[in-house]
Amino acid sequence: MPFVLGVAAALVVGTLAGGRVERLTAVKVAWWQAAPVALGLQLLAIYGLPGLDRAALVAVLVGSQLALLVVALRNWRTFGVAVAGLGVAMNLAVMVANGGLMPISPETVAASGRAGSWRIGDGSPGTHLALSKDVIVPLAETRLELLADRFHARMPGRLDVVFSLGDVVLLLGVMAGIVRAMTHDPNTPLEEQHETDAAGRGAYRALATR
């Protein structure tokens, strides 16, 4: 849900800044098809096959996030993609370091109110939280703990999410990329845009000092 709201907010900001949403279609992103395929596989593994073997679940989650990282590296020159890719890499790093699922501490699970047995089982270490990418790992045993699912939004309803530092970086990159794409002509080289921006600032200063 936060990602849907973040994308919606970026579309609103881009529009208010004078941008046009149609410009999103002009951004050339190589291998973009990997994104919906990755999400489809994750939804299938988490929702479609709830009793899926742990090794298969890890393979789907790590493999799909690795594919997204490759897409980000392939398109890193596109505005916002490098930052978004860094967010994916941060999430992937902590997942791989802790066996392939996103670690969440028992304290964070309790604080976020995820208490139902259908969701957390007996709550013991190593339990996969139902309908999520998370696995319960004690704080002291979590590798790269700073990058784990450790922040709790404390918001009402569907906004009451637990998130990681990588999620924040990823969302910032995506939002910046959307606003930039909406407000800049994608057919103008970046260097030329910088020159135009600099020329515009110079002209503004000249007018302001008259």
Binding site: P2, F3, V27, A35, L68, A84, L131, V162, F163, L170
Partner: protein
């Protein structure tokens, strides 16, 4: 095919829909957040 044609007639920009869906898919699949309804 007919549905797609009907939506195109209704003015749906499929390239834009694909772009927004792909951006959302990248963000959600790349995140550590819970995905989908629960």
């Amino acid at each position: 095919m007919m549905d797609k044609l009907a939506l195109r007639v209704a003015g749906v920009n499929w390239k834009l829909v694909a772009a927004v869906v792909s951006i959302l898919a990248f963000a959600v699949a790349g995140s550590a957040d819970d995905i989908g309804p629960y």
